[in-house]
Every structure is written in structure tokens, then in C-alpha cells.
């Protein structure tokens, strides 16, 4: 494995992403929505030291949960599949690079482009809040930024896995949207229904929620914001009391698993794939 080759592929992927109109759209959309949400969170509060990033963060959590997985999945899923469909992947792989280098390079390039898009959004949002005179909880806000990056990387990893499982861009995007729907909505709806129908215990409910990276992201940000998960009711209180100081490592470990495992699986799938 050559880091230099990976870097070259990553740079090419970053370059391609930056020329992609979807990148521009997502960057603008995320920036505008983040700014609007932070403004609305602060509007009329007049409570310096109590509002600020804490509430803004809570609002942004929702935005991130919806938009960032969609961004990540929709740019990662067609990356390999689209190149395979166009024939450029075969051409690329006919050169002296290994498949793992190509896959990792693409992943890193996409991660860099996503990081740029999110950093722009959060940066503008942060300046807007600072201009509004609110600065309490900047640490919480930065935690949100970092956790958003990691969530994005996890979703990119899933998107890359989807890309290795398909041969064309359109089915890849379709599958990505299905996965996005499942993660954002269907799994939570299912879990809610199960909690009521099967009388799931608090422990079971929390454990099942840990499977969903979006829930993990949300809980980690809220935990950092409030130093507990009380806001999430009995399950949150249980988590705070049962795991204590290990709660945050648990969340980080879960998200890291969502980065590493899909990427490892994607690598395995890609290494065995016929590039026609």
C-alpha cells in the first residue's frame, strides 16, 4: 500500500467533488439552514449565558441528522459505481494501483470534501452566532462539529460499501436513499413501535438505539451539551447512571465502528469484484 498513491487518488476525488454541482448545493443548503436555525434559536431569547450554543446545538442536531447522512450517502454511493458505469474505474485500475488504494483514496477524498462543506457551514453559522453576541458553550458547539464530521465519515463509509455492491450510479443512489430513510426514520419508527408493542425495557431500548449511528450521534451531542442524557427521559437517565464516564467512549466507539466496519466490508467486496 502506497500512501502517495492514496493521496493522489484522494486529491483527485476531492477535486472532482469540488467541481460537482451537488457539492455546491449541499454546502450552500447546509450553511443557510445552519445559519437560519441558529438565528431562530437565539431570536428573542435575551438570556445571555443560558441560550447560545446549547440551544443552537440542539436545533442543529436535527439538521445534521437529516442532511449530513443524505450528503454523505449520496456522494459516496455513486462514487465507485458511477466510475464503473462510465468505464473510468476499469481504466483507473489498469494502472499501477491496488484496489484498496483506490478505495481508500476515494474515501479520504470524499471525507475531505465533506469536511470542507461542513466546515464552511459551521464556520458561517458560528460567525453568525458570534455576531449575535452569543458565545456560551463554544466547546459544545465544537463537539457538535467534530461529531458531525465523524457521523459524516461513518455515512461515507456506508455509502462506499453501497458503491461496491452496485455497478451503476442510479441503483447506488437509490440504495443510498433507502438506507438514509431507514437510518433517519424507519428504524426509529420501528423502535418506537417495538418499545410500545413489546414493552421493551429501558436497557433494551437504549441498547437497540446504540445500533443506529444517528441516534448515537444525537445522544453524544446531547450528553456533551448537558453532561447527562436526562433530556432523553428514562432511557437517557439509565444510560447516564449505567455507563457514567464511559458513556462518551461508548458513543465514540460505536461511531468509529460505523466508520471502520463498512469500510472493511467494502474493501473485501471491492477486492473480489469484477470490474467490467
Amino acid at each position: 500500500m502506497s500512501p502517495r498513491t492514496i493521496f493522489i487518488i484522494a486529491r483527485k476525488e476531492l477535486r472532482d467533488a469540488l467541481r460537482n454541482r451537488w457539492f455546491l448545493f449541499y454546502t450552500v443548503a447546509f450553511s443557510v439552514l445552519a445559519l437560519a436555525m441558529s438565528y431562530l434559536s437565539l431570536a428573542g431569547s435575551g438570556m445571555q449565558g443560558l441560550a447560545g450554543f446549547g440551544r443552537t446545538t440542539a436545533g442543529l442536531v436535527n439538521l445534521v441528522i437529516l442532511l449530513v447522512p443524505l450528503m454523505s450517502l449520496s456522494i459516496a454511493a455513486p462514487s465507485l459505481a458511477g466510475e464503473q458505469e462510465r468505464g473510468t474505474l476499469a481504466y483507473l485500475l489498469a494502472n499501477p494501483i491496488t484496489r484498496f488504494e483506490a478505495l481508500l483514496g476515494k474515501y479520504l477524498g470524499l471525507s475531505a470534501s465533506l469536511t470542507a462543506a461542513l466546515a464552511i457551514g459551521f464556520g458561517i453559522c458560528g460567525l453568525g452566532i458570534a455576531a449575535n453576541g452569543d458565545s456560551a458553550g463554544v466547546g459544545v458547539y465544537l463537539t457538535l462539529v467534530v461529531m458531525t464530521f465523524t457521523l459524516g465519515f461513518a455515512m461515507l463509509s456506508v455509502g462506499i460499501l453501497i458503491s461496491t455492491l452496485t455497478r451503476k450510479a442510479a441503483p447506488a443512489i437509490g440504495m443510498a436513499i433507502v438506507v438514509w430513510l431507514c437510518l433517519t426514520l424507519l428504524s426509529d419508527l420501528g423502535l418506537m413501535g417495538s418499545a410500545l408493542a413489546f414493552k421493551l425495557s429501558i436497557q433494551e431500548l437504549f441498547s437497540l438505539a446504540l445500533i443506529n449511528p444517528l441516534q448515537v450521534f444525537k445522544m453524544s451531542v446531547l450528553h456533551n451539551m448537558n453532561t447527562s442524557l436526562d433530556v432523553l427521559g428514562p432511557a437517557g437517565i439509565y444510560a447516564t447512571q449505567a455507563y457514567g464516564r464511559w458513556l462518551m467512549p461508548l458513543f465514540i466507539g460505536s461511531i468509529l465502528a460505523w466508520i471502520i466496519l463498512p469500510l472493511a466490508l467494502a474493501s473485501l467486496t471491492f477486492s473480489r469484484k469484477s470490474i467490467a
Binding site: L18, R19, S45, A58, A119, F122, S135, D230, L232, G233
Partner: protein
């Protein structure tokens, strides 16, 4: 002189031992003092317990410590009208049963002020000590788990007392029980369980207290006529987590308080309890709590006006089933400010023209099933709300209605704290934007177009390629028994190929014969059975080294169309670790120098083909693989391209290519592998390919009408398959003998006005049409 000094200290001649307070005996001084005497206690550490049985005024010098023995109370006050001022009191026992306290007061009218309490289980404990004052003490609990701590301040049957300006931290509770007419003013209680815990304390006043970071701010129970004013209940977030909990209290008058960041701002349980009581909540700020107001379903007769309800996750909750009623949120046409109000104010009177209604399906679900709060801040929350709005059946009952919501928050006079500086936010945001700019620059700069020159890597021609004598006997590409199946279809079956330097081999066959698949197997793009080595490197085990020796031109020219030609070659040069000079060289070699700045998408098919060849030749590899090498070229370009490849072959490149075209094969190849259904059916020299395959071309000849039959006869006599076809003659010939029928007719004196070639070069394997010229 000594007597004068002792007189100054208030007590003359009282000399006894102390820990390090010199000769002053505090206990003896107290015991021997007359009622009402003021005793100034010199600095030093005095042993506890100190038992005060006289109504004395004890005033301590700074640094005066009463050190308990860790076994019980430190100070016990048994006499009324005692004052204890300015001491540091520490070292109680740990017995919760015996309620070990820093100061235990068992008599009325006691003043305890300006003392520091350290390492105490209970701080100040008034038992039946009415009309007492606890003022400006600082009380820190023992470092114990919360349930094992004692209360910072406890009033027990001590009515008419005043507790003010005290600071209590890390204790369990501040308890005020059975103590009517008590005033709790300007105290700060942090990091305990109950900031204030009231029971049976009628006519009590809470003013200006700051209760922060406790499990519960204040829990007020079984009391009547309570005034709660100017207090701050902040971030009380334990399992109950109430800013203020009201349980069976009557007649609360709450004004100008801040309830912020608690789990529940104000909790109502059977309050007011009496049917004739009404409670008023005016000009309070209830903000940023998980739940602003939480009611048990039976709660009635609470009146809310001019309050600010700001950004509570759930503004109003009804805990349990049942409908909330008879609580008023509007009085005399004036309601409260709700930050989530979405109405309007057309007449500009500051009052919303439509009422505010707290109505949410998800909140209802949470109120009934608290564990569903786990899904707060999730998209599923919005989905549920959307469903409730779209389908009336799902619409939940309205929890409360404010008929006259305020459009702007009510101005309040609550001091929250100093505003933090804005620079960390600005700095963090600028760092984020700078990082993004760096990434954008990294992606946008033209570094791809300017690959780094690395002189040592300019030519990647493997050593084996330059070693001609050895190469003459050793194959540079070796494929052994390559087999590839797609399901039941065998695309390539046991293909063997050995290619030597300077040799060109053609894979010939119709569409679907397996030519492209065979090439991709050799490149390692497709997993297959068999073994492939290039320049001695196994394609599967050493893919990078093997592919470094190959230049590949695919059938379908798939490039990044939004790149410029030079940029594209620069990218591949970097991957192949070739210096930038080589890019210009290969561009010149394939005749694309003047098109180097064009976007790939702007190039013609022929130019793209040449660009592909340029990319393939970048590393000067010993092997070229070309799939349908002239598929995108016109006749002139085809010739030029073939000449280019012939030169490459002649300088020692090994070439393997696929083609349909006999002419290409005859021009370039040294050997032809004829494939059919994935299998090599024969191998031959190119000039014998037509014969081997039995290829025939069909000529159509235009001859004078009266000589048509003669021509047919003459051609048949010469051994050609000839037939009359309307006004023309059709002749079948070998592809390399198309001139012979013309020669035969000319020799027989039969003129040919015109001719056309219908070529069937692939024989039974396929059909192609070539247009010939006219003569």
C-alpha cells in the same frame, strides 16, 4: 498590662488549655459568662464539641476554628439568644441517625452569622429554635456520596426564622420543615439534592435565592401562602430535575423568577390543593428547560400571565392521561410570551390575533410513555407531528390554550450572570473556515496538471525490456489456462498466451467471443482461474508491479471529460510516478500537443484514442494491451494509428490487441488467436487468417448490359463463383484477391464500368461492410 489586655478581650482571668489558641479556654469562657455577655474569641483552633448553655454572644477573630472530634456535633446551643459569629466550624461525625451537625440549636432566637462550615455532615440544624437568624454562612458538606450527606441547613419546628445570604454547596438538602412564617432570602445552594425542601411551612417567603446544579431546585410541599420572587432556579437536572416542584401547596404567588435549563421548570402535583385557592405566576421566565410546565392531569386554578416561555423542549406537559382544565393563561386580554408561537398580530397591539395552543402528538406520546423521550431531536419526532397535522384522527387534544399570546417577550429584571467573551466563537469559526479554504485550495489548485518531476522515475521501462537477448526467449506476458465464467456462461476457456518483446498478437473473434474479457483477466480487472504474469510479476499477487509494465487502451474510451488532456496525463503520470517531461513527450508522440489544453470531452473519438495511447505509453511499458484498437477512428486516422503501433512493436514493445478488422490484423499482428465462444479455436499467421476462416468478399460489378452473360461465363471459367444479379454481376472472392475478377474480365475484353465491395471478412463469425472506390 496583662489585665488590661484580658479586659480588652472581654473575659479576664479565664485561662485554660486550647489546641493552639494559646491559653484561652473557650468552653470555660462560655460556661462562666453571664447571660448577654459578649465574648471575643482570639484566633486559634479550639476543640469541639462546644456546648453553649448561656445566652452569650461569641465573636471570633479571623482564623478562629472550632475543630470537632469527628464523633458528633461541633457546637451545641442550648440557651436562647445566643450569637455565633465569625467562626470556622469543622469536623462533625458522620452519623445520619444522630444528625451530627456543625451547629445544633435547641433554643430560640439564635443568630448564626458569618461562619464557615467545612467537613460537616449537617451544617446548621435548628430544632425548635423559633425566631432565629441564619445569615451569611458558607457551608460545605463532607465529601460523601449524596445519599450519605447531611443537610446544609435544617429548620425543624423553627417558625419565624430568617435564612439569608448563605452559601451551601455539596450538601444533601436545605430543609425547612414545620416552620411557618420563615423568610429564605438571597441564599445560594448548589450541587446538592434539594436546593430547598419545604414541608408544612405556611406564609413562607422565598426571595432572591440562587439554586443551581442541584437535583431539584426547590421542592415545596404541604404549605400555604408562599411567595416566590426574584429567585433563579437554574440547571437543576437530576432524575426529578424540577426547578420548582409544588406538591399540595396552596396559594403560591410566583413573580419575576427564572426557571432555566432544568429538566422541568415548574412541576405541579395537586397544587393548589384546596378548592378555594388560586395560584398566580406572573412575569417569570421559563426557558430552556426540557419541560417548561409539567402538570399532573387534575391540576386546576393556576393563573399564568406575562410570563416568558422560551425554547423549552416541551413547553407544557401533562403527565399521565386526562385533560388539563381550569388553569388560565390569559387574564384581562393579556397572556404570555411563547417562543414557539407562530401566529400574527395584524392590529399591532402586541397580542397575537390567534390563540396559542400547546398541542403535539409526539409530546402526548412522551407524556404517556416517558421512555419515548429517547427519540427527541430525531426526524421521527417531526414525522409523527406531520402525521398528526395531516391526519385529523391522529391529532391530539390541546393541552393548554393561551387566548392572548404576547408577540414579544416580557422585559424581566433577572440577572443571569456575566456575558462570556465572544472571541472563542469567532476564533473557532474562523479556524473552521480557514480549514475549509485549505481543503478547497488543495482540491482546486492545478497540482494535478503539474506532476512532480522525478528524474529517477522518468522511464519505468522494466529491466527485462532492455535486455533484448534474454527477452528473445523469455515471454514478457504469460497467460496460462485463463478461464472465466459468468454464471453458466463460459466467457473465456483455458486461454494460453505467451507474448515476447517485439511481438504483436491479435485476439480475433466476433462480439461475445471473449476477447475483452480475456484482456481484462490479464490485467487483473476480472477475477479468473489460471495464472497471468507480466514481466515476471504475478498479476494477482503483485498487481502494482505487473500493471506498471502494461499500457492499456480500452475499447470504450472512458475518461474524466471535465479534465484537460494534459491534466489527465499528468494525473496518470503521477500514479505511474513519471516525470512531467514525459507528458509533453507522449503528447507530441501521438500528435496531440496542440490539443493538450482542450478538455477531454471536447476531443474527437480519434483524438481520445490517441490520448488513450499516450496515457498507455507514459511509463514506456514493455507491454501494450489494446481493446478494439481502431474502433473510434476514421480510415485516415486508422492508418496513422496503425503506423504508430507498428513503430512501437518495432522498437520492442509486446502488443496484444483485439480486433474485427482483417487489415489491422494483417498489418500489425505476428500471430492471431481466433476465438469463438470464449475458446481459442485456432492460431495462425495473419496472412492465412482469411483462408483459415474461409472468408469471402462479394464484389458487385457494373458491366455493359449486352456483356453481362459473357462476363458471368468468363468469371466461372476462371473459377470464380459468379451470378447475374439484375443489371450487375455478383462475384465471390477471397479478401486478398479482390482485383483478380477485374483482371480476368479485362483480359477477356469485357469492360467494367464500376464496382462495389460487399465484404464478408469474418465468414461465419460476423459481417462487416466496407465501401470501395469506383474505377
Amino acid at each position: 498590662m496583662l489585665g488590661l489586655l484580658l479586659a480588652i478581650w472581654g473575659v479576664a482571668g479565664l485561662c485554660a488549655s486550647s489546641v493552639d489558641g494559646g491559653s484561652f479556654d473557650l468552653q470555660a469562657a462560655v460556661d462562666n459568662a453571664e447571660s448577654g455577655t459578649t465574648i471575643h474569641v482570639p484566633a486559634g483552633t479550639y476543640p469541639g464539641p462546644l456546648v453553649i448553655n448561656q445566652s452569650v454572644i461569641l465573636v471570633a477573630d479571623p482564623g478562629t476554628i472550632i475543630q470537632g472530634d469527628g464523633q458528633g456535633d461541633v457546637v451545641q446551643v442550648h440557651a436562647p439568644d445566643v450569637t455565633l459569629r465569625g467562626f470556622t466550624i469543622r469536623g462533625t461525625g458522620k452519623s445520619l441517625d444522630r444528625e451530627n451537625a456543625g451547629v445544633t440549636v435547641l433554643a430560640p432566637r439564635v443568630l448564626i452569622e458569618d461562619n464557615d462550615f467545612e467537613d460537616v455532615l449537617f451544617g446548621i440544624y435548628l430544632k425548635k429554635a423559633h425566631d432565629s437568624v441564619i445569615r451569611n454562612n458558607r457551608i460545605g458538606g463532607k465529601d460523601l456520596p449524596l445519599p450519605r450527606r447531611g443537610d446544609g441547613i435544617r429548620l425543624w419546628y423553627s417558625p419565624n426564622s430568617l435564612v439569608e445570604q448563605n452559601t451551601v454547596s455539596n450538601s444533601r438538602d436545605v430543609v425547612i420543615w414545620f416552620s411557618n412564617n420563615t423568610t429564605i432570602r438571597d441564599n445560594t445552594v448548589t450541587h446538592g439534592r434539594y436546593g430547598l425542601h419545604f414541608m408544612y411551612c405556611d406564609d413562607t417567603v422565598l426571595i432572591g435565592n440562587h439554586l443551581e446544579g442541584n437535583s431539584v431546585g426547590a421542592f415545596l410541599m404541604y404549605s400555604r401562602r408562599l411567595v416566590i420572587k426574584d429567585n433563579r432556579f437554574i440547571r437543576n437536572h437530576g432524575p426529578s430535575g424540577y426547578g420548582v416542584g409544588l406538591k399540595e401547596v396552596d396559594g403560591v404567588d410566583s413573580e419575576n423568577n427564572l426557571f432555566a435549563g432544568n429538566r422541568i421548570g415548574i412541576y405541579f402535583d395537586n397544587s393548589p390543593a384546596s378548592v378555594d385557592m388560586v395560584q398566580h405566576f406572573t412575569s417569570n421566565v421559563v426557558a430552556y428547560n426540557d419541560i417548561g410546565l409539567a402538570f399532573m392531569p387534575s391540576i386546576e386554578r393556576n393563573v399564568f400571565t406575562d410570563n416568558n416561555f422560551i425554547e423549552n423542549v416541551e413547553q407544557v406537559a401533562v403527565l399521565g392521561s386526562g385533560k388539563l382544565k381550569k388553569n388560565r393563561f390569559t387574564v384581562d386580554g393579556r397572556g404570555n410570551y411563547w417562543s414557539d408561537y407562530t401566529g400574527f398580530d395584524l392590529d399591532g397591539d402586541g397580542i397575537g390575533d390567534i390563540s396559542y395552543k400547546a398541542q403535539s402528538l409526539f409530546e402526548n406520546l412522551m407524556d404517556r410513555e416517558p421512555k419515548l423521550r429517547l427519540f427527541l431531536f430525531s426526524p421521527v419526532q417531526q414525522a409523527v407531528e406531520l402525521a398528526a397535522k395531516a391526519v385529523p384522527t391522529f391529532r391530539p387534544p390541546v393541552k393548554i390554550t393561551d387566548e392572548a399570546p404576547l408577540m414579544q417577550p416580557v422585559a424581566v429584571t433577572i440577572s443571569v450572570g456575566s456575558e462570556p467573551p465572544a472571541w472563542p466563537t469567532t476564533t473557532a469559526s474562523l479556524v473552521l473556515l480557514l480549514s475549509a479554504s485549505g481543503l478547497l485550495m488543495c482540491g482546486m489548485t492545478g497540482t494535478l496538471a503539474r506532476p512532480s518531476a522525478d528524474a529517477s522515475l522518468v522511464s519505468m521501462t522494466p529491466q527485462a525490456h532492455t535486455d533484448q537477448p534474454e527477452e528473445a526467449t523469455k515471454p514478457i506476458l504469460s497467460a496460462q489456462r485463463i478461464t472465466k465464467r459468468f454464471g453458466r456462461l463460459t466467457a473465456v476457456k483455458e486461454l494460453d498466451l505467451r507474448l515476447r518483446p517485439g511481438e504483436a498478437v491479435a485476439l480475433w473473434g466476433p462480439n461475445g467471443a471473449g476477447k475483452t474479457t480475456a484482456l481484462r483477466c490479464m490485467l487483473g480487472l476480472i477475477r479468473c482461474k489460471g495464472a497471468v504474469s507480466i514481466n515476471g510479476f504475478d498479476v494477482r499477487r503483485q498487481p502494482k508491479k505487473a500493471k506498471r509494465c502494461v499500457g492499456y487502451v480500452p475499447q470504450e474510451l472512458a475518461f474524466y471529460d471535465d479534465w484537460r488532456a494534459r491534466e489527465l496525463l499528468g494525473f496518470f503520470a503521477k500514479i505511474k510516478r513519471i516525470g512531467r517531461d514525459r507528458v509533453s513527450a507522449v503528447l507530441a508522440e501521438v500528435g496531440l500537443t496542440e490539443h493538450a489544453s482542450k478538455y477531454v470531452g471536447e476531443l474527437s473519438g480519434g483524438m481520445k484514442q490517441r490520448l488513450a495511447l499516450a496515457a498507455a505509453m507514459l511509463a514506456d511499458p514493455p507491454v501494450l494491451m489494446l481493446d478494439e484498437l481502431t474502433a473510434n477512428l476514421d480510415a485516415a486516422a486508422r492508418e496513422s494509428f496503425l503506423n504508430l503501433l507498428c513503430r512501437q512493436r518495432d522498437i520492442g514493445k509486446a502488443i496484444v490487441f483485439t480486433s474485427h478488422r482483417l487489415r489491422e490484423v494483417e498489418t500489425l499482428a505476428d500471430r492471431v488467436l481466433v476465438m469463438e465462444r470464449g475458446e481459442v479455436v485456432t492460431t495462425c499467421e495473419p496472412r492465412k487468417l482469411a483462408e483459415v476462416l474461409g472468408l469471402k468478399s462479394s464484389l458487385r460489378l457494373w458491366i455493359e448490359m449486352d456483356r453481362l452473360d459473357d462476363a458471368v461465363s468468363q468469371l466461372r471459367t476462371e473459377g470464380f463463383e459468379a451470378d447475374r444479379n439484375g443489371k450487375t454481376v455478383s462475384v465471390k472472392v477471397r479478401p486478398d484477391e479482390k482485383g483478380k475478377p477485374l483482371d480476368a474480365l479485362l483480359a477477356a475484353g469485357i469492360g467494367v464500368r464500376d464496382f462495389e465491395i460487399d465484404s464478408n471478412e469474418s465468414g461465419s463469425q460476423g459481417r462487416r461492410v466496407e465501401q470501395g472506390g469506383k474505377r
